[in-house]
Amino acid sequence: MIRIEPREPSALTNVAVPVGAAVISLGLAAVPLALAGADILAAFALMWGGVFGSLFAFTETLTRATPLILTGLAAAVAFRARLWNIGGEGQLYLGALAAVAIGSGAVAGPAWVLLPLVMVAGALAGAAALVLPAWLKTRFGADEVVTTLLLNFVILLFVQMMLEGPLQDPMGMGWPQSAPVVEEATLPQLLDRMRLHAGLLVGLAAAVILHGVMTRTTWGLRMRAVGENAPAARHAGIPVTRTLLWVAVLSGALAGLAGVGEVAGLKGYLTADLSPGYGYAGIVVAMLARLSPLGVVLAALFVAAVFVGADTMSRAIGVSSYLADLVVATSLLTVLVGGFVARYRVVRVRTGEARQ
């Protein structure tokens, strides 16, 4: 017979659990690699090279990490308040849509006006995409998990509709894509001849600011109280509904910014395949970071590295790059179990003994 006893998680386990989860999930990748008949060590070497092999490779990882930092923050801030925002993907697309609606010629102006305008528009669009489900939750009790998930599909269809309609590039020869973002609305490149763009700085700044907000402000305290014990927060005079709606605004805005970065920093125009699931991966990033904003940066780097490394490996030896999705999914489940190991101790008991 075994029994489970709670224990106090130490500072060490807060770091050890995510790191351990990352290592274990990478290690477990050996199983599908072996099943695919690949040389496991060579595959790992290729992945490593794909991430750290050159400056270009590493900046590619950072470029990939940029949207993940923002969607990861979006998930972390929402989950902290127990608002299950699974709609990061849709919010990202709506942010991107707003960015191209304004930034691809509809509004003219100097960069110092246009760039902030595009970012604010994208953030607001993302926020709107989450405020609706949050309102449905607080007003009608409609489960936000399901509504945000379903809205992802609605928004993607809406984006496709716009790309075949009002926002279609007139010069695009009928392809469903938007007109390119104008020069003044483009996020500057950070390094010559690299794709890395200023979106990374936005993400890093957002992480630092969010860390401060969560730990040092009344707003962060209210948000945590609502997330961790809503009845007690309500009893203590904290406006629970209003707090949740503000969390929705913030979370949606962060995911919307991720979309802005992708079109205004990387792609230059919007297509319906802009995101390979950054919104969903952001949930993994947030969980790997144990919902800590600063941890999100590191977790996003890990997830980005897995994707970039798997791409390189896949091109070289032909093992499907879905391996990356496998590793990321496994890391989510392992970090979850790791959290359990940190919080509880499993004790073997001989029969006849019992808990105290």
Binding site: L136, A142, V146, V154, I283, S320, L332, F340
Partner: protein
């Protein structure tokens, strides 16, 4: 107006309604079993995908159609076991674990498919479940093509409604499952295993979900495509609330949804010139959200849903 009447008068519309509803019936019944036992299973979307892939792959490799369905059910049961172990004895977040299972099952399916078939550009096809013509009835005008020319899996779905309803309302097992989703302490105090009931219900429910996925590749279509599940799992999670966790209402909800979806496709062909097609494609998702909002107010959630329970801790 005339167009609408024409759609309703066409038996193909009703046949399509039932065809669209079939995988949802499996999915909603599966979600119902899990949630009645107190476990939210957001792994459903991935389990659908894994079931679609596994069933099709087994049939393609020569296991036969029913062999494929069985393989799909086993695959679903295994992912259910994973979700159940994480959420029941370990008591971890059902939301996060479910999403993790969806991500894992989806990537396992995609990776497995790509690994088995690295170079094909057009997906290989299987001989899918044929429509079963019910003797005599299938020859009826209108009702024959609408109701009596469906595949064996559709009849299986209908059979599962009866089975789940019977088990839940008429057997000691169903009584225990309903109790464990309401108050696990009550079940524990009477000497039944909370963990056993919950793990079993989640595995059985997940197997049903996977068979719903297998319907897509083995009856509705004859091949596996990436992204083919396309939110059907999430729709089931909304429908189970709409159905108040009752099997017959689940069937009704799935049929209602199927009718709207079939209707939407036909309106699209009728009005596709003037109105963008995406507006029609959105309607199933929007309808699900509306159904959820309407049902949420009076929703009588199983009381122990989402709450972890540990033996020996009152």
């Amino acid at each position: 107006m005339i167009e609408i009447l024409e759609i309703l008068a066409n038996p193909n519309f009703w046949a399509a309604t039932i065809r669209i509803a079939t995988p949802l019936v499996f999915g909603v019944l599966g979600a119902l079993l899990c949630e009645r036992a107190g476990v939210l299973n957001l792994g459903i979307e991935g389990i659908f995908t894994a079931g679609a892939m596994a069933g099709w792959m087994a049939a393609w490799l020569g296991a036969g159609l029913w062999g494929g369905v069985l393989v799909a059910a086993v695959a679903g049961g295994l992912f259910g076991l994973l979700h159940a172990v994480l959420t029941v004895p370990l008591g971890l977040s059902q939301h996060v674990s479910g999403l993790g299972v969806t991500l894992l099952a989806t990537s396992v399916a995609y990776f497995g498919y790509r690994t088995a078939l690295p170079d094909v550009s057009s997906p290989p096809r299987i001989e899918p479940f044929p429509p079963l013509d019910v003797p005599l009835l299938s020859e009826l005008p209108f009702f024959g093509p609408a109701l009596f020319q469906h595949t064996a899996l559709t009849w299986l779905a209908l059979g599962m409604v009866v089975v789940v309803w019977w088990v839940m309302t008429r057997t000691p097992l169903g009584l225990a499952i309903r109790a464990v989703g309401d108050n696990p302490d009550a079940v524990d105090a009477q000497g039944l295993s909370v963990y056993g009931l919950r793990i079993g219900a989640v595995m059985a429910g997940s197997a049903l979900m996977a068979v719903g996925g297998a319907f897509l590749t083995m009856a509705a279509f004859d091949a596996f495509f990436f992204g083919m599940v396309n939110g059907r799992g999430w729709i089931c999670i909304a429908l189970v609330i709409f159905a108040s966790w009752r099997p017959w209402k689940a069937l009704f909800g799935a049929l209602l949804f199927g009718a709207f979806d079939a209707f939407q496709v036909r309106l699209q062909t009728a009005f596709g010139e003037e109105v963008p097609g995406q507006l029609f494609l959105m309607t199933p998702y929007i309808l699900s959200i509306i159904a959820l909002v309407v049902a949420a107010r009076r929703a009588d959630y199983p009381r122990a849903l989402l709450a972890p329970w540990f033996k020996g801790q009152r």
